[in-house]
Point group: C2
Chain length 214, copies 2
């Protein structure tokens, strides 16, 4: 049933995951679901567990060494592997942030990340700060509020840019040059992947520096 819920979200989007539709897919008529879950929240909790299990299965196959300075490439690969799973379920981050309680599967994922950091020599306190600093990046996604690289294109783009240039001069200046330097910057998630890795590496390097000095 939870697998069916993930299937519905994958195929028609998370907003289409309603109790009625889920029952339809299961060939059960409508409201029988409530004999297996207390309410929809429990369905979403279960969905998170399914995705977490998929992530844990993927990162469980990793075999990089983790001692000392090797912690960094090991943590990096773990995060990017989790990200690969999430890229197959683009709706999952939204469900993750909507949960109030934490799934055991997510705790298991974090526990493995902590194992890497502790093998690298992190104190418990630095581990704690590291998890907060990484935030959702630890699981492979970064909540973007708007895409600064998403410059307007099309016929009226030039006019819109001119109007915006007065109100947001620095922003428009940046967009013009970034778009010029990298014409592929708006082509799908390739760019987002580069940006994600940039931010991840910046944080991991900052943490590594503290490992040496704190």
């Amino acid at each position: 049933m939870l697998r069916a819920a993930v299937g519905v979200a994958d195929e028609r989007g998370i907003e289409s995951l309603t109790m009625r539709r889920l029952a339809d897919v299961l060939d059960a008529e409508a409201m029988s679901l409530y004999h297996h879950v207390a309410n929809k929240e429990e369905v979403l909790d279960g969905v998170v567990d399914v995705i977490a299990a998929e992530i844990n299965e993927a990162v469980g196959r990793l075999t990089l060494p983790t001692k000392g300075a090797r912690w960094k490439p090991a943590a990096r690969l773990r995060v990017l592997t989790a990200r690969e799973v999430l890229l197959r379920h683009p709706w999952a981050p939204r469900v993750f942030v909507s949960r109030t309680s934490t799934s055991a599967g997510i705790l298991e994922y974090y526990d493995g990340l902590l194992a890497i950091m502790q093998a690298g020599g992190f104190s418990h306190d630095l581990c704690h700060r590291a998890l907060h600093t990484l935030g959702s990046r630890a699981l492979g996604f970064n909540q973007e509020l708007f895409d600064p690289g998403d410059a307007p294109t099309g016929p009226e783009a030039a006019a819109a840019m001119a109007g915006m240039a007065e109100r947001f001069p620095h922003l428009v200046g940046m967009l013009a040059e970034v778009a010029h330097d990298d014409p592929d910057s708006t082509l799908g998630w390739c760019d987002a992947q580069t940006e994600f890795e940039f931010g991840l590496d910046l944080i991991l390097e900052g943490l590594d520096r503290m490992r040496d000095t704190v």
Copy 2:
């Protein structure tokens, strides 16, 4: 009307902000709102604009110098000032991340942040990467997936910890020591404030280092 919407969200939570309740508060009977907005999405867009205006008003009063190395404390204060506004509207981050288009007020906020970075000598490309790296932190909040410092308390805490210790040894070890080192770590947003500033400073320092070398 948008101010009334913010008031409803402040007093009863964002989930209580329905078209019917909003009309009630405005002493208009129900469905007259649709003569002023196309749909609820437009109401939420407007709510974002109201909060963005409040943020811009607050950061507009700041007067720190921004040239060269001074960019860092200036950017830091700008972000923490935005955070102060959001702490008065704890539901706002959830509305922010739910918007697909970006409000002009948010663009204005980003434009001012870019002005600081450019005064500090950032290239357009590094500005772009910096915004992506900061993500929601640029606006003063960090999407937490679960609070690793939120150790269980109460009578059955010890038993729960013992059960969890087998499955999540590193996590439980960390929680035990962090809770021991800092018994106040679960008392409200003080802790979250410390953690937010830690992550913010780590990122700002990493960006500052790149300013010198890239």
